[in-house]
Subunit: 183 residues, 2 copies
Amino acid sequence: MSVKHGLLALLERGPMYGYQLRAAFEASTGGTWPLNIGQVYTTLSRLERDDLVRPLPENDTGQRPYEITEQGHAELAKWFSSPVSRADRPRDELAIKLALAMTTPGVDVRAVVQTQRTAAVRTLQEYTRLKTKADDLPWLLVLDNMIFQAEAEVRWLDHCEASLARYEAPEPVVTDTEIEVPR
Amino acid sequence: MSVKHGLLALLERGPMYGYQLRAAFEASTGGTWPLNIGQVYTTLSRLERDDLVRPLPENDTGQRPYEITEQGHAELAKWFSSPVSRADRPRDELAIKLALAMTTPGVDVRAVVQTQRTAAVRTLQEYTRLKTKADDLPWLLVLDNMIFQAEAEVRWLDHCEASLARYEAPEPVVTDTEIEVPR
DNA sequence: CGACACATGTAACACGTTACATGATTTG
DNA sequence: CAAATCATGTAACGTGTTACATGTGTCG
């Protein structure tokens, strides 16, 4: 959905063709999320099929610009006016991984947590380094978003560490779950 | 990748069939992420194709359990020993949306931020309510993960608000970016 | 019996990635 | 000229979702 609406938003500025769209998309996030050129064309095809964009007559230099339609305009307005729901975000691989690690025999959960923490701190430093190069506000905010997320991840991993320590402690305090051994 | 490795992890406990796998997967995250039964079977097919699992002879009650292979075991170990990289996580729709909102004509960015903030706070409350019902540690940590993420989102949105206020202020203090007015 | 849950699958589609094919234009 | 970049596409594949088809077993 991100790419579909992203392209619509860019076309709201005015007609553009495939390559321009990719460049503009990547520029608006400072090149953080490279966009495959193939996907631009397939997405444009689907947008055209759904009457959200319309191809303009081929350019003098052989380019095929698209313009947004009224329907596309409406769809974009809807996108901007409704929040991104947590429900339709993809499953968080890290959370699943840790939850499963805890019930999988022979897995050193603490090691999993530590490995992830090291990686998270490293990317956090990388983002901080990148911030010194960010010059325009949208890109800066995108970077800040990733920093906030990475920080939350580190905090959560520390929280997991602490919980595990309490859980593995000689005197288990609370509830213990039955491990279902299927057969 | 989450589902694929998730099923492998569950099979590491012992042989299971499709329906059991879905139930176990959903249970390990407290039903936070419902798993489509169709996907279980297609994923199992792919895992079998890649020699990561192996079907066992059909049960007396007509069920088809699978067991993990040596290769599957190795693949799972690899998954647990390597961190989830930020690079191969999907694009964050919210970040893209806000970055584009800022350069799209006719969009009230502050309104977009506020709408999203309201939604985020609401889900945050919902998670907190759910926490009182969480009884086992893995589920609790998954919930905490979502809480930490939602909190980070709220903080980031407030940060955006503040940045926007500074940006739109009559006396811009520091670096000002060119506003591209298309047309 | 009829409804419901269990259980296994298939088909179609959306989205995303990688790789390849094919030309035009620019530049060293 | 040769290589690189611009530009438009197509094909194949992985992952995920929704919907449908089909059968069994259980329970009111």
